[in-house]
Amino acid sequence: MLDMNDEGDGYSCQASMGDESRKGELLQGTLPLLILRTLDSGPSHGFDIARRIQQVSKSVLKVQQGSLYPALHRMELDGLIESCWNTTENNRQAKYYKLTRRGIRRLAAETERWQAIAAAIAAVLQEA
């Protein structure tokens, strides 16, 4: 069984959807999953990650910076991602994050878990 209230990896950060309301509250533990998925397509820095989550979700998911960076740093401490300083296209120094092997494995596991939950919730909603 999957426990919906599971705090996942202990990430207490939240992201909110859109500006307007509390209906966009992200389920706990989902931000790291989004970050992992974003980094799966290549190394990236914090701003870029936030923008890409926004773009891909067609602005439905908007990541708050106040949550993003602590999440990134905790994930780094947990060895899911690693960082190095590099130059951006605009010739600025930026801290780039990329997935570690542990991160790739976690992404697979979390994706599966999320899909199972989503399917389960959908099923419950349709029945009811």
Partner: protein
Amino acid sequence: MIPIWLNRLRLRLRALLSREHDAELRNELQLHLDLLAAEYVARGMSATDARARAHREFGNATRVQETSHQLFTMPLLDGVWRDLLYALRSLVRGPSFAALVSVTLALGIGASTAIFSLIDVVLIRPLPFPGAEQLAVVWETAPRVGYPKVDVAPANYVDWVQQSDVFDGLAAYSGNAFNLTGQGRPERLDGVQVTPNLFSVIGVDPVLGRAFLSPEGTRGNRGFVILSHGLWQRRFGGDVSIVGRAILLNGESHVVVGVMPKGFQFPREETQLWTPVAYSAADTPTRNRRFLRVVGRLKVGRSWTQAQSEFDTIATRLAATYSEANRGYEATVVPLAEEFVGEARASLFLLEAAALLVLVVACGNVAGLFITRAIRRRPEIALRFALGASRGHIVRQLVIEGIALSATGGAIGVVVALVTVDWLGTLIPPPLRGAVAPALDWRMLVFAVTTSVLSGIVFGLAPQWAISGSKLIRSLAGRGTQLPRERVRAALVTTQIAMAVIVVAATGLLVRTLINLQNVDPGFRTENVLTARMEVSSSGASTLDRRKRFYAEVLDRIRQLPGVVSAGFTTFLPYTNFGGSIELVLREQPDLPDAAKFAYRREVTPDYLTAIGVQLVAGRWLTEHDTLGQAPVAVVNEYIASLLGSGVVGTQLKLGAPDTPWITIVGVVANIREEGLETPPQRGTVYTPVAQSQQAWYFNPRDLAVRVSGDPSHFAAAIEGVVWSIDKDQSVSNVRMLEAVVDGQIRARKTQVTLLIVFAAVVVFLSALGVYGLMSFVVTARTQEFGVRIALGADRGRLAAFVARQGLVWLATGTAVGLTITVLVSRGLERLLYGVRPLDPATLMSATLLLCLVASVAALFPIYRATCIDPLTALRAE
């Protein structure tokens, strides 16, 4: 994949150690802000508006930064790190305090560690032989004659082997010297004749070749030798093919059968080779010649008591059977470790005790320093309390400060120990010298570090204990400097004084011992005399004539050297051999007391006695005219003269067997301390002219003494040259001043006394510091009170007396306790003393007075300060 905790630790450590981490965090967030602003600019906003918008959208950047920062810190370690830096900063601010504490601790830790490492190798670790705790030395002993340990007669050894059952093997050996010739420079080698089973009894096999086999060592079958590793390397270049080859020892061929392993030494460091000798009932002429040392391995399961009682039985039986030779002789079994360590045990324990007292006094001082300091820092600590620092935090910080200091002290202490430990080598008992090397191993290091860290924790906490929190808050208000822990400090100082009295008194006793020994008249004049040993080979029929000719020629040539005053040969110089005695019979006094029945026999050339500066008391010296053709003559010492009463000169004596001729006494000379500076002459000595010697034997001279005008060391090369020009194969060894021979008697004591003096000086200094600190503390604490008193008209002199009286009480208590302990423990010193009693009143009084004097001087400054208090300043301070 690395474990998560390791990854975290790595990143956190990097964050802790690199100054860049915070900057990186800032940069990362700044980039985000800039990119956000850039987006708004791209949408047509002005730069200023864009930045403001970005900031608003981003939210509280500082909070983000803090959240992230906390992720990367280790709260405890971070705090410790900060405390450590704080501690270092505050120590650097008061460098004299830091230096005083570290050096104080370093001396205590260093000295006790160094001496303990010596004790470890000498007393604690087993001797360097397998199963060494089962090994024992068996001596004959003649208590009634005043010989606690006598070498063993071969015939008795043979009987012991046959009759005893407690030993797995009983081996015998006797010292000998060998001249190695035939290749390169002739060399005198210290060697030992051993029974073939010696190596198996000791339990060490040769590293090359084999040990001696049983038939080897019987008469006519002795041309074998085993080399020490050192000799093999030095003279034969470590050549493996040496085994089976013959070398020339004393002019005779000896086949090398084996080489002992590196580091093996028995019985002495100097021993370089072993030759076989076997004793059997058929081949041991007389029981009267005692020259063997016997070593045995106790059977497993037998006790020392059993061994001793068995040898008591055997010795009683032998004394009854061979009453002429063995009457009064017993046997004693001494464990080898005890035999080897001997007197050193008491000496080492004394030094360790003194070093530990130094450590205790040092710790007391450090505690005192910390208490004073903590009280001075009260306002600061109170402020930190007030600002919200937790009690635990402040304790932690004080402890860390203590640890930082004591760890520094410990580190310096290790250096001190390393430096002293080499120098302490002279304290190793001679049989162990070379076999053991005191080294500071890791256990010592752990000991030192633990001591220092523990003391750090204690000292760090002591101040905390001295201050309670509620009073702290009051001290913030500038009040409440009333000192709660004066009594604690007073107790510390009293203890210090007590310890100092003990150390100073013990040092005083040993200094007096050393002075007494240095003032002992050995019976001869040591200055300006050079000595050397020449072992002459014992082969050939005409040996005696050749020897006599050799002595005459050498002396003749040496006398021609400019600056030589006189020169002579003797059997043994004083202190170089404690044996060499022979039965003495006096014609006029046939009934000698037991103790006088043996006398040292010295065959000398006429000038020997004048060369070492012995006083002639009566009669005449030996002369060149006392030759083989003349009537046999002798000079005796005063001890023998005292046996005869008046009219000694002209009477006759006999040495050794009854069939030897009577010898006429022609002169009496002063007693020489033959057996050691500490042993008063208690035995006769008979000097006979070597010219009248009838045998090539043990008593023929081997030691040369040359009295010169000027520095004797300049003559060393000339004398060697003379000898080699006469016989190129003659070995010359132990070339040294007579002063050095005598000094060898007290060298270990000098080291011991030097150490003790250093300890005593340190302890006295530290106690003075303690007294000074305590008195200053008292005066400072009462400045206001005294100010008021003075303002109210108190007499300054009486104030000073009031302060001084308090100091006197502590001083008196300290010295009383110290003296009491000294009186209780000083009996233990008895064996180490010479010419001074353990409770010598003069020494104890001087020690007490010294302490009182130093303490008074130390107390003087604070007391003086008390009289100078200006009431206005003192009151204004409130």
